[in-house]
Symmetry: C2
Subunit: 346 residues, 2 copies
Amino acid sequence: MNRKKTTPITIKDLAQELNLSASTISRALADHPKISQATKKLVTDKAEQLGFRLNAIASSFRSKKTKSIGIIVPRIDIDFHSRVISGIEDYAYKSGYHVIIFQSKDSYKMEKEIIHNLQNMMVEGMIICLAMETKNFDHLKKLIKTKLPIVFYDRTPETFDTNKITINDFESAFNATEHLIKIGCKNIVHVAGNQSTGIFRARLEGYKAALKSHHLPVQEDHIYVTHNLSYQEGMACTEKILELDPLPDGVFCANDYTAASVVQVLNKRKIKIPEQIAVVGFSDYPIAQIIVPSLTTINDRAVQMGEAAAKMLIQHIQDHDFDIIDHQVITLKTELIVRESSARKT
Amino acid sequence: MNRKKTTPITIKDLAQELNLSASTISRALADHPKISQATKKLVTDKAEQLGFRLNAIASSFRSKKTKSIGIIVPRIDIDFHSRVISGIEDYAYKSGYHVIIFQSKDSYKMEKEIIHNLQNMMVEGMIICLAMETKNFDHLKKLIKTKLPIVFYDRTPETFDTNKITINDFESAFNATEHLIKIGCKNIVHVAGNQSTGIFRARLEGYKAALKSHHLPVQEDHIYVTHNLSYQEGMACTEKILELDPLPDGVFCANDYTAASVVQVLNKRKIKIPEQIAVVGFSDYPIAQIIVPSLTTINDRAVQMGEAAAKMLIQHIQDHDFDIIDHQVITLKTELIVRESSARKT
DNA sequence: ATATTTTGGGCAAATGTTTGCATTAATAAA
DNA sequence: TTTATTAATGCAAACATTTGCCCAAAATAT
């Protein structure tokens, strides 16, 4: 009949019960080598029996280790980011870390605020995908100066070098475009993303480079720059594309939403894909497999990117061999997935 | 030239600098009414100047408030869940809480383990969507007995009452089916989800009830139960459906992936949608708008569900008027979104 | 038998903040 | 002027755990 209120039991209670010191309990629980197996068992059994829970806050407070990492993404409910987060959480969990997630909503102000809060929370590191609005990187530089391990992915700071995981957007776009050329396209247009973002600039450059390397002309009126690569924007673009004379014979889109919209509009106009116009997207979203014809696209390795980011971060947190590393860049291989929308013509 | 190492400055440092006591600093920072505006400004300015950060861990340790809530979802990279999480994070952030997210991967073992960890972490509440594997609810009952506020969503415990946010799956399915009936379908099949999960049973029941209420026969061979409502399973189902004689004139699917697969297979077979067979899905995934014909479906209010869950949870955490509430159930209105796949026949 | 090492634990400090209560200063009432 | 009141701040304890250092006993070596 424990009548002594319902206050949670602490390490001291255990100590008292077992006639041991608090330090021994602490060490036993932490599987410290200096504690005998016998006492360890005694302790864990008693802990179990009494329903003891180690107060993680007190523990963090004393040890200065929170075992938590902060994640900042523009939004969680975007396929790409939710997959990256999934990869991060997976790896982090296996390594004994948990993730605290925030959405910047692409707002610079939010981003700064969140970073500030995360520092107060004493996360041991952060994984960040920059807000679209972020053009000034001072807050990030300051953050990095604090020596807190940070890893960026996808949208990364452009004015200085830092830890990051990206895919080779240039090369991926190059490959995608070259693929179109190899199946016989000679007049390829590109639906591009917001040019204030590095990765979309890189994709555009990759497109151009592929054309040049195959001695095809780069025509400015074949480049359609969108604001956010939405499905709706893609539709509008396609309408404009269809006014071209002659019609292009290939379209490379900077993401799968716009590519899907191109496919749909062409279908509606009874333009044969890929015979008349071949289409290639980017990111391998679920729709890519579902639309008809299915979409050739680039596997952007979202989950792996998350895992790689978590791995890099946790290495920097734990392994002091990494202390002398100024910054580390990992570029993931992408993969061209050829589907019906660019199945070899003829 | 601060040479005294790089140890973070504390409230005491501030106190010393300003010739005040630590308690005053603490109160000033917390905007306590008993502190004069003048000193508050003094303190915040100095804090700013010195780059002071309030140690949130120490604060939590002392105050017993972590301002954190735990979220357990089967997986983050599923449209529905990522949208729910987005809604939760949004509301939580506005209320001064942050979210710690875990994926159970639909594993019962993981779910238990995560709950255990979250309790140690002293989150102030949890929002949970049960793992598919979870059939035994003892760990949840025990959890709830601790008085920690918990809110479930989507997949919720079935053997006892508790706080939860759901949509009315039965009614939604009823409406979807009735919609098909109203546009003239008389021979409707249902692609159902895993019947070990309550929401999918409810959708099946809603389907049946709609048929009955319109004096249409409920035929067991018109019900196709899948394991996880994947796109692939949907394809297989559709093949079987097409062996029916006579062909059905309507299909109601328990999610949009299977509905999309139905649409695609029918397209391939040159079966006109909706003229020959009308199709209705569930959840309003992005594909629903993109496939051709676009998909009639049910808006499942994922984001709102997240917001509602967060709101309910935070109320239970903060407002002691809620202490006398044994449990609270909120059922969200859904919405039938009529698109081309069930545009009135004829 | 003594000296030395190993093994298993205990002591007590330290961590940064919050908070109930006490105290002082300032103002108002008598 | 004295007293009561209010406003603003200080004191010190408490929070649960970890960890460097110390110590006793047991085991091993000499």
